[in-house]
Amino acid sequence: MISIGEVLPHRPPMLFVDKVIELVPGDRITCTYTVTGSASMPGVLVLESWAQAALLLILWDDPQPEARASSVPIVGRFGGVRFGRNVLPGQTIEHRVELSRLIAGTAFLTGRSLIDGEIVLEVDRLVGGTRPAKDLRIPAERNAR
């Protein structure tokens, strides 16, 4: 079984998925993240965690264990995101992601996150993929700092 760190370039403290429950490449993924530490997890980090599950699905057959100039995983757009309650330390979030469409390397995904069957996040649409760093339009003077 491939490990998550061999597919995603995210590393602690910014790695928010830790177990793959089900994966059908090119179709759907279910994975989990158990909140560590003593602080509750705000909605935006639940969204980040869900987005990492989405990236895991689209990068599974094209692993990116390191972000590099030729290929950087990015989210281009979110649409229709609704947050539930914050997630408490020790709770395990289950992320469900479905790939709706894949057009020229750009993925369209949808899904939700649950805790014990209660929805804590709904995402109607995420559009993302990987891009060469030069296409990210970091102006040269900002790069040079």
């Binding site: 590393r11 935006v44 609704r82 947050f83 339009r137 970091i138 102006p139």
Partner: protein, 124 residues
């Protein structure tokens, strides 16, 4: 002459004029994620970029300054136009219309994200 300690421009002068509450229709805030912030250690090692979720967080916190009682119903759209690098100064400009809020995040004049928020009815 100096202002008296009881002078205050923070409360309506009800005895003299209308006490209609002021409403904030637009707000501009700025912030700068420090290059030493731990977020960059993991996102990504050797290639630091601010996660888009952090831009959403900054916008929601700015909105809470202007509408402290409002309850977010939906992040309607969020488009990322460019990356944010460590040390970038973010300018976050929000404008409100009823239960809707539009936000633009810029770095050195270039938009890096545009968001639209919708709040619950009756909670402004």
């Amino acid at each position: 002459m100096s202002p008296g300690p009881l002078n205050s421009e923070r409360h309506p002068v009800a005895a003299y004029a209308t006490s209609a509450p002021l409403e904030v229709d637009a707000i501009v805030v700025s912030t700068m994620p420090a290059p030493t912030d731990v977020v960059f250690a993991g996102h990504y090692p050797g290639f630091p970029l601010l996660p888009g979720a952090y831009l959403v967080e900054f916008v929601l916190r700015a909105a809470a300054l202007a509408r402290p009682e409002a309850v977010l119903a939906e992040l309607v759209t969020c488009r990322f136009h460019g990356p944010v690098a460590p040390g970038d100064r973010l300018r976050i400009e929000l404008s409100f219309m009823g239960i809707h809020c539009a936000a633009v995040v810029t770095v050195e004049g270039s938009p890096v994200a545009r968001l639209r928020l919708r709040y619950q009815e009756g909670r402004r």
